[in-house]
């Protein structure tokens, strides 16, 4: 293990320098009464710049990442993150803008944001977009609040939100945060919404149905228009969790399918990097009838100038200070401009091609949870037939790490036993997929001939299999100075 930064360095050392103080010096107590001043010093590290650079560089090398490894994490769309987009977002003309600068000094910024909203409207078939939500789940919350405001304005608040059992955990969590009661709709035997079950669940008390399309099994909801009709017929709204838009951008539009509200994940579909957990960005699009409820402020054009309009009386308010994760939006803007309409469609085509190719290569050795038709951008295998060998999905995932591959998403969706969810994305070449498939197949052989090799994996990573039970039972969540 790399030593903790706190255990590196030495008393009195530091890694930054400040200009010499050029205003009159004084004791802080001459400005601030002693009782408001800090008594116990924060024990920050004391390291040189080189110590610091080495520490974090060494840490970085303990990670697998898209830049270094194939990262087929289902539902996360770990595609290549173009470098030019990073460069552009870090230009001081963007990165050094203060959110309260006079509008006249940020016209280029506002134009870029306005154009991004417009492009997202066209890609999704929606009438208006907000860039404020900071992530997908944040977009869900925004969408639920918009739906709530809409129903309340009609004098019909409604209490329930329908969510399929295959949905991401954020869906029920977002609906509950908004005060809604969550009703789970079971999937049918084909892995799609069971129309009968949906009809039973739909009713006058339902405010929204949240749906992921293609769903988390990688299947397009063929009956989407019928679903929309049932939902709209009951007076409810249809919400798209756009986590899987990488299969649809440029191919088909949620707005045409009957969705009233949707979020997109700029950090998935539109190539912005995940940063080890964030920042993301989860813009929300709505149909015209809901546009007035979007968070404030809205970007408008007035007298040929871009302006931030805070006079939004019906707006749900704000879900974040300022206007959104702008640095992320800039990268997504660059991506959309680079690919253009046709490029986006090609990317979706190739994402789907890659997923189907990999599924075909693995079919003889792994069991797809749902088969008999093409998948979209991802597919789900079940590891349950490996259980008799004493090997579980978790073990297969860990063994993949030994071969230099990040593991697919595992144990999700919850409705598939021992699930292995694979999303290769379009930026991976046939050679990478071939090599990955070979390793997956090799692991099934190992599971049969030498299961302990698999169940004790990983063997070659910086640490061996970590004890999560001990971590949860004997919580150690921070460094403390010894003896303190």
């Amino acid at each position: 293990m790399e030593k903790l930064i706190f255990e590196t360095g030495s008393e009195g050392r530091n890694g930054c320098s400040l200009p010499k103080l050029d205003v009159p010096d004084a004791a802080e107590s001459s400005f601030i009464p002693g009782n408001l001043l800090r008594r116990k010093e924060a024990l920050l590290p004391e390291v040189s710049e080189l110590d610091c650079i080495r520490h974090f560089t060494r840490l970085s090398r303990l990670n697998y990442s898209v830049d270094t490894n194939f990262y087929p994490l289902g539902s996360c769309t770990m595609k290549y993150n173009p470098r030019i987009n990073e460069k552009i977002a870090s230009l001081p003309q963007f990165s050094a803008l203060h959110p309260y600068q006079p509008e006249s000094s940020v016209q280029g910024m506002l134009k870029l944001l306005y154009d991004t909203e417009q492009m997202l409207c066209r890609i999704c078939g929606m009438d208006a977009f907000t860039l404020q939500p900071a992530a997908g789940a944040h977009g869900e919350l925004t969408g639920m609040l918009i739906a709530r405001a809409y129903h309340v304005s009609k004098g019909d608040p409604r209490k329930k939100v329908l969510i399929p059992d295959s949905a991401h955990g954020t869906n029920p969590a977002s609906a509950a945060l908004c005060g809604y009661e969550v009703v789970t709709v079971k999937s049918g035997p084909d892995g799609r919404i069971d129309i009968g079950a949906l009809k039973d669940a739909a009713g006058q008390d339902v405010a929204v149905m949240m749906l992921t399309n293609p769903n988390t099994l990688g299947l397009f909801e063929k009956d989407i228009k019928k679903i929309a009709d049932i939902i709209h017929g009951s007076g409810a709204l249809l919400y798209l969790d756009g986590a899987n838009m990488n299969a649809l951008a440029g191919v088909s539009r949620p707005g045409d399918m009957g969705f009233d509200i949707c979020h997109v994940n700029l950090h998935k579909t539109f190539s912005t990097p995940h940063g080890g957990g964030g920042p993301g960005s989860g813009p929300v699009g709505v149909k015209a009838a809901l546009a007035d409820y979007l968070p404030a402020p809205r970007i408008k054009i007035k007298r040929n100038k871009f302006t931030l309009d805070s006079d939004c009386k019906k707006s749900i308010g704000k879900v974040k200070a300022f206007y959104g994760n702008i640095g992320v939006v800039i990268k997504a803007y660059c991506y959309i401009r680079s690919l253009g309409g046709e490029g986006l469609r090609d990317a979706a085509f190739e994402a789907v091609l890659n997923a189907n190719y990999l599924k075909a290569k693995l079919r003889g050795n792994y069991t797809p949870a749902f088969d008999g038709e093409p998948c979209m951008h991802e597919f789900v295998l079940t590891g349950k037939d490996k259980k008799p060998m004493g090997v579980r999905t978790l073990d297969i995932a860990k063994r993949l790490l030994d071969y230099g591959y990040y593991a697919p998403t595992i144990y999700f969706p919850l409705i598939v036993e021992e699930a292995i969810m694979i999303e290769p994305t379009e930026t991976e070449s046939k050679q990478t997929l071939d090599a990955f498939a070979d390793v997956m197949i090799k692991i099934t052989g190992e599971a049969a001939s030498d299961p302990s090799l698999v169940t004790s994996a990983p063997h070659t990573t910086p640490v061996r299999r970590l004890d999560e039970v001990a971590a949860a039972r004997e919580l150690n969540l921070r460094w403390k100075k010894t003896g303190a």
């Binding site: 144990y411 999560e468 039970v469 949860a472 039972r473």
Partner: protein, 129 residues
Amino acid sequence: MADTGKLLFAKTHEWLRVEGNIGYVGITDHAQKEITDVVFVELPKVGKEVSKEGEAAVVESVKAAFSIYAPVSGRVIKANDAVEKDPSIVNKSPYDDGWFFAIEMKDPEETASLMSLKDYEEFIKSGAH
């Protein structure tokens, strides 16, 4: 070692040991195996009113959380702090040291719907859970 033959069982895998009008509650051996390593138990506060089949506690493993339902209605009079401090007790001794809480039972009749050990074992075998 508890005499499991004297315990009563709920379909949701809790056991109940009746002592006068007090009922001790824990989870079954089958349940602790299914849950795997218990890493945390959230117990009800003493004094809390619980109703039969209402959520009374939560058991967490690393990858899941399970609701524990009261097998009978009543007021919680004791909570077993030991399982909060060392949750592994639930795995090691589900029927003895690993009990969760005790209820002052409101209506002893409510126990009628609970199963005997034999019925519970049959219930598990049948796979109806």
